[in-house]
């Protein structure tokens, strides 16, 4: 076990973990932050997406030992009051069906908009293709991103 200091949603957190434990399980099991979801464990589905210094990463495949001093943002910390333009657009378009993948979808979309505030449809598709949704909400996700980008 090693000790690590992480910066998560602007707050310093001390954890003791095996160095190979993925950030996902550090968040979920050690810090009881359940918004970030487990879907595949292989960076294939995007359910576990968080930001590391504003870049969308798959937390299921990033060992804690490689997180370093960067700022981690999770869905719980994306906005203080749950009013990030994407979160509002998500509710407005009633994007979710089961909802399980949506935190990861929003985190990927938020990183995209930070980098490219007015993405084209093709750019949205390219950025979002790592995030799977089994219920079939892709079209509403796209509309919600376009709505958020237009504001």
């Amino acid at each position: 076990m090693e000790n690590y200091t992480l910066t998560i949603n602007g707050k310093k957190q001390e954890v003791s973990a095996e160095p190979d434990m993925p950030l996902l399980w550090v968040l979920r099991d050690l810090l009881n932050m359940k918004g970030t979801k487990f879907g595949c464990g292989q960076a294939l589905c995007g359910a576990c997406t968080v930001h590391l210094d504003d870049v969308a990463i798959r937390s299921c495949s990033l060992p804690i030992s490689e997180v370093g001093a960067g700022n981690i943002t999770t869905i719980e910390g994306l906005s203080e009051k749950g009013d990030h333009p994407l979160q509002e657009a998500w509710v407005e378009h009633v994007v979710p069906q089961c909802g399980y993948c949506q935190g990861g979808q929003i985190m990927t979309a938020a990183a995209l908009l930070k980098q490219n505030p007015t993405p084209s449809e093709a750019e949205i598709e390219a950025a979002m293709q790592g995030n799977l949704c089994r219920c079939g909400t892709y079209n509403r996700i796209k509309s919600a991103i376009q709505t958020a980008a237009s504001r």
Binding site: T74, Q97, G136
Partner: protein, 762 residues
């Protein structure tokens, strides 16, 4: 279990479930009141003497309560897996009540069918089964509120109405909140059910409109609670190494290396059912219990297990599918007969003979199974599970632990997708067994690999259809051979043919006016666990039948839309009883209650043709395909447009659906089910397949079991809902079956290549 598929409910049982909920006698109310302990019914106080300042709650039935500060709480008793049912059923009650929807609180019921009625969230029947009971629940509460207010004001109840969680006096400014009537209600007898009148459909303000789901904001902010999100003190996390081949048993194992992994506490063997595996039992396995998920996973990887792989160790699914297709060349067991197909065949001017194959499919819900169990010192157990069928899970746990049903409490979390997988209680039983063995709370965590390797799969299938035309181009004969390992074989290996229920899903209910029809089935064995996946055998049957109809239209030189309308014939109710020997099940409903009406089917076909502009001249490089299919008592027609992009990839620019599901409750969720259904079905058609070799599943994660990603999704999905006052029917499954043949027929028009096997590539 005779009726092993929950969708095929016992006809009498269905109506019992409906009536059981509303035995509105004073005695029952008292019983309900005294049963209430904590949670949604807390504080029910029939003596109306709540201590000063305490919120007093009145619950006129198990679904509705309001308290003195005017909070209206509605119970959602069906599982939420993405259909929006947790919103749609409470909407009906709120509309009847005249409650302020924006302030409603929705509470999820625990699994208890004696209290809530049927909770088996499956078969697209939540709205179908509970539309009337929810109306009645809301209307009963409204009736009492009005009685109470009228008595207070000394007016006739007919002078009062409800709105915004208040009772109003007509033509006056007088009003009283529901909360202010709680004390009056507590001493009021429940009304005679015959005196309670539901609103007219035209009076509804929520029903028939787009209403956002209750959980949208919690989901968008990461607060919604799914199976794995429940945390208990001292909880251990379990990962299980399960039989790699169905029926495999552990001969011996060495857990020394697993126990040496930091964080691993314990290794526990789970005795599996063997063969048959059963629908409600865990597979044999060795569980590693650890203080966190990562340690459990590493511990599992370090296990050394010697397996007796059992009789399925040489199973190869590709070989079986070939053999199944070949078997259709023989005479099978006749399941429906009209006229004389052999005579039609010998007199035919033209015969079309095609075989359609589909692979096994896994559900691949985004949330892998995760269940929490807390076995307590007194022999009882509390469960938190993303379960589609909490009562079945409860019974399975009671059976596995040898305890009474009353000792099992099951809390239902949100489900991260269900599609039929989370009906099965295997994961719930695993968690309960492990918590009992460990004497701590346990979360069983499945990985994606576990999910794909140990599913209850949608069965692979071969469908051979022989169609005959006479000299004038008339369709004279239809002979469908249906072969697939049956769901029932998972519990009973002697079931070698598809059941009547499975055939009634798009095969024996072939609706077209063809003078000679023969439907037959052939034997096939199950070598894995077979289950039900969104729309069940409608998938295989509609793919084959609706692609064949397109081929027949081409052979006849007629438009497939026109052909469908022509062959549905006059507007009338169909009855398959005689030709199937009384074995058509109609989704568990009496055919008199939910007839198969050709007129309604023609209407959706006409609507989709109009909305998609079917007769348009498409630009070069674009093509449209059509299919129509009724399933789960809902009529659907679908047109899919396809094109090839510059790289030769298939694009789906447009999908048009027309649906008649009777009264539409939450129209936004009807649309979202169709949008999702089209995307789900695109995966089935083009990207997903489970295969077995040496008894083992050959796909492991989303790299080898692919589901579509955003760029592959249909770009525009238009859903046209036919306005209707007919009884409502479900929409969770009906979008899937017609989509696949409509897509395949479009691809044929684009490429000239017919699709006979899924998943297809172009």
């Amino acid at each position: 279990m005779k009726n092993f598929i929950p969708v095929f409910k016992d006809k009498n049982k269905a109506s019992e479930d409906r009536s059981k909920i509303f035995v509105a006698s004073r005695r029952d109310f008292l019983k309900i009141g005294s049963l209430a302990t904590g949670g949604f019914l807390l504080g029910v106080n029939f003596q109306c003497s709540g201590p000063k300042g305490e919120v007093v709650t009145f619950a006129p039935n198990v679904y509705i309560s309001f308290d003195s500060d005017n909070q209206v709480t509605l119970i959602a008793h069906r599982s939420e897996m993405g259909t929006g049912i947790r919103t749609s059923l409470p909407m009906i009650m709120a509309d009847e009540l005249g409650a302020d929807w924006s302030k409603i609180k929705i509470v999820q019921a625990e699994g208890d069918e004696d209290k809530y009625g049927n909770q088996n969230t499956d078969g697209s029947f939540s709205v179908r089964m509970f539309f009337e009971p929810m109306r009645k629940a809301g209307a009963t509460a409204r009736h009492m509120l009005i009685q109470a207010a009228a008595a207070k004001w000394g007016v006739d109840p007919s002078e009062c109405y409800t709105e915004n969680s208040e009772v109003h006096l007509k033509e006056s400014r007088k009003k009283v909140t529901f909360g202010d009537l709680v004390q009056d209600l507590l001493v009021m007898p429940l009304p005679d059910p015959a005196a309670v009148k539901s609103k007219e459909l035209s009076e509804y303000k929520l029903v028939g409109t787009d209403v956002a789901i209750y959980d949208a904001k919690d989901i968008a902010t990461g607060k919604a609670v799914f199976g794995a999100d429940v945390d208990l003190p001292n909880m251990q996390i379990a990962m299980i190494a399960r039989s790699p081949v169905v029926g495999a048993k552990i001969i011996s194992y060495n857990d020394a290396k697993a126990l040496a992994v930091p964080g691993v506490n314990q290794v526990v063997k789970i005795e599996g059912a063997g063969i048959p595996p059963g629908l409600d039992k865990p597979l044999e396995g060795l569980a590693v219990l650890a203080s966190n998920t990562w340690a459990a996973k590493k511990g599992r990887e370090a296990l050394e297990i010697e397996w007796d792989l059992g009789p399925n160790q040489d199973y190869n699914s590709t070989a079986q599918l070939e053999a199944m297709a070949k078997s259709t060349l023989q005479n099978g067991k006749v399941r429906r007969e009209r006229g004389n197909f052999n005579a039609a065949k010998s007199g035919a001017a033209k015969t079309l003979d095609k075989t359609f194959k589909i692979p096994f499919y896994a559900h691949a819900t985004m949330e892998p199974i995760a269940v929490i169990a807390d076995y307590k010192g007194d022999g009882s157990v509390e469960i938190w599970a993303p379960s589609q069928h909490p009562q079945w899970a409860r019974g399975a746990v009671a059976g596995a632990l040898g305890i009474e049903l009353s000792q099992v409490k099951i809390n239902v979390t949100l489900l991260g997708g269900g599609f039929g997988r989370k009906s099965k209680p295997d994961g719930v039983v695993e968690a309960a067994l492990l918590s009992k063995a460990a004497k701590t709370p346990v979360r069983v965590q499945w990985t994606r690999e576990d999910d794909l390797h140990h599913d209850f799969y949608h069965s692979h299938s071969a469908q051979r259809i022989v169609a005959t035309l006479d000299g004038s181009g008339k369709l004279t004969g239809w002979n469908q051979h249906s072969v697939f390992p049956a769901i029932g074989a998972t519990g009973n290996p002697d079931e070698l043919h598809p059941s009547d229920g499975e055939l009634g899903l798009g095969c024996t209910d072939f609706p077209f006016d063809v003078p000679n029809i023969r439907i037959e089935t052939h034997e096939s064995k199950a070598h894995t666990r077979i289950g039900w996946l969104r729309s069940v055998s409608n998938i295989n049957h509609a793919f084959a039948a609706q692609c064949m109809m397109d081929e027949i239209a081409e052979a006849r030189g007629v438009d497939p839309v026109q052909q469908a309308i022509e062959l549905l014939g006059e507007d009338r109710d169909l009855n398959f009883a005689e030709e199937t020997g009384g074995k058509y099940e109609n989704y568990g409903e009496k055919i008199e209650d939910f007839p198969w009406n050709t007129g309604r089917m023609k209407k959706v076909i006409q609507a989709v043709a109009e909305k998609s502009n079917w007769s348009q001249n498409l630009a070069a490089g674009k093509a449209m395909g059509f299919a129509a299919h009724k399933s789960f008592l809902t009529y659907v027609a679908c047109v899919v447009m396809v094109e090839k992009d510059a790289n030769g990839n298939l694009n789906i620019p447009e999908v048009h659906y027309a649906v008649d599901c009777g009264v539409g409750v939450n129209t936004d969720r009807i649309k979202s089910q169709f949008e999702g259904g089209a995307q789900f079905a695109t995966s089935l058609a083009m990207t997903s397949a489970i295969t077995f070799d040496k008894g083992r599943v050959q796909q492991h994660n989303f790299d080898s079991y692919q589901i579509i990603r955003m760029p592959q999704s249909p770009k525009k999905i238009e859903v046209h809902i036919i306005p209707s006052t007919e009884k409502p029917t479900g929409v969770g499954e009906p979008p899937v079956p017609p989509y696949i043949p409509a897509l395949a027929n479009a691809v044929y028009k684009l490429t000239g290549k017919r699709i006979y096997e899924l998943p297809f590539k172009i």
